[in-house]
């Protein structure tokens, strides 16, 4: 199956062409999570899906060259750390856990906005790389047979 797709020039060109647009859209969804529909989870899934599309078109090895196991492991943890870290920063700034308004970023309004923005980014990173990890893991098992 994989070999078959690899030879499909149309599939490869189109997915290569689309990948950056999908990723841009993913960032848009993540960034607008606090204002409109979407958010870290949805955006993260789209970001992960762009990578999965690339791997389907170009194969596992090519995909691992772009996102190695080590890098995806690091980013999976980083996202959660961003989330939890912002919560702890709120405590350090004198509020309750995740009370963004207390963050020292000018006005309370701006602080809440930036706080939730940081959370969405953290969620997005973790979700995207968890998607990629799950895809690689299942694909790896399939190949062993």
């Amino acid at each position: 199956m994989q070999e078959f797709i690899k030879e499909q020039i149309i599939v490869r060109t189109v997915s290569k062409f689309f990948t950056p647009f999908i990723q841009l859209y993913a960032f848009y969804v993540i960034a607008h999570g606090d204002l409109g529909p979407g958010g870290g989870f949805q955006g993260g899934v789209i970001l992960g899906a762009s990578m999965i599309l690339y791997v389907i078109a170009f194969g596992m090895d090519e995909g691992r060259k772009r996102v190695s196991q080590k890098i995806s492991d690091i980013f999976v943890s980083t996202g959660v750390l961003i989330y939890a870290g912002i919560g702890l920063l709120c405590i350090l700034a004198g509020g309750a856990y995740l009370e963004y308004a207390e963050l020292p970023l000018g006005s309370h309004h701006l602080a809440s906005h930036l706080g939730i923005y940081g959370i969405e980014i953290g969620v997005g990173i973790t979700v995207a790389f968890v998607m990629i990890t799950i895809f690689f893991e299942t694909a790896k098992k399939e190949r062993k047979k």
């Binding site: 943890s77 959660v80 750390l81 939890a84 702890l88 709120c90 509020g95 856990y97 963004y100």
Partner: protein, 508 residues
Amino acid sequence: MKFIQELPVLIIVIPLIFAVIIPLVGRLNRLLPWIIASTITFFCFLISISLLITVLDTGRISYWLGGWEPPWGIEYAIDYLNAFVLVVVSFIAFIVSLYSRRSVELEINKNKISAFYCIYMLFITGLMGIVITGDIFNIYVFLEISSLAGYGLIAIGRKREALVASYNYLILGTIAATFILIGIGYIYMATGTLNIADLQERLPALFHSKMVLVALAFFTVGLSLKLALFPLHAWLPGAYTHAPSVVSCIMAATATKVGVYAMLRIIFGVFRIEFDIHFIPIANILIVVSSMAIIAGSALAIAQTNLKRMLAYSSIGQIGYIVLGAVLANQIAMTGSIIHILNHALMKGALFMVVGCIIYKTGIEDISGLRGMGKKMPFTMAVFTVAGLSMMGVPLTVGFVSKWYIAIGALNAGMGYLIPVIITGSLLAAVYVWRIIVNIYFPEELPKHELQYTDGGAEITDHKSQYSEAPWSMLGPTIALAVLCIYFGISATAPLYIAEKAAVMLLQ
């Protein structure tokens, strides 16, 4: 003093943060994941102790997440009951992580060790989250965290059967979680709130509603499945038997206890006992079911040949005791039930640790392989004896204290006919424990062909075999639990004091 106020959230956030740090640093050093897990669970234990002291001093603690006032925001609410359970869970988590190093190195592939500790910490986070939160939907979220981590922990070992056991648990656990979620949905539909304290106030006015009745039904079945109450216990023996020893330890000692806590909280904290009296005899139903659990769990334990499976069935019987004491709904029985959460955690933790030591040293899981083990591993077997006696409920051990309270409570409730059930359970426990103790210390001479039959091989079945004890890093925590089994059996004042306060609070 700022951080003192934030302790209720830190006890959840710190293990969560370190859970994701462990796989990052696990690449640097092989020992680091274990060191981090032990240190952090120790910190959690300290925090839980300090929370317990604060609760005893000043009463209920309420922490508002993100500064949002309940019932709109999520509240972490700590009272006598959950402060007590929190101490039990974090203490067992600490002891088990101390114990885990050698056992994990033996039973889990090298490249999965940091993943193991990561999931282990997530599992602990989930359990402590269920206990600490004052928001019913939050209970569900943490339940899923701990369950998903639990499925992973069971499957992470080398045994192939573990995958099947984990899959069984996954299916049944998901059904349980779905039932609980449906229950939450109905109750939210009826009241429009998810905060437990708020629900407690609003619900009595709606007790006549069929919706609330259906919610209770879903909760009861979902929680019974989660805590493995007798007819719904099918996932538990397989899961405990095939999981790595450390995982059996932590799950047997904490996971089902937290399930029991959730049941106490929902049936007594959310629905209150008046609902039972005026609307549906849920307590009577559960009395019958838990009596069946006591008898059937202990009887099935006798029939087992695998040591871990036997302990798993004995857990089912002991869970019966906890539920029975709770649903008798009087103060003494409830006290017995709450204190049995601690007592069963101590003795079942000790027993599974002993099994872990035996497996580490000899690889035996079969009961017949234990012949003459008393000479080979004297300390381990002494711990087994102490914890086994607790399981029977012999005086001067923890098992006696809780069974005594439950029995007196049954008498006070005018249900003297439950006494034979409690005693039968103890006698059956005596049968399955004694069978092993005799095997350990007074091995009979066996005909040659039977000697060869046991899968451990000649070296193990030979009762003249030499002294060969488990390493101290495993033996120390095991002995500590056994000492506590005796200590709290002789002087149970402190846990009884807290358990009594919790019982009064639940039944008011």
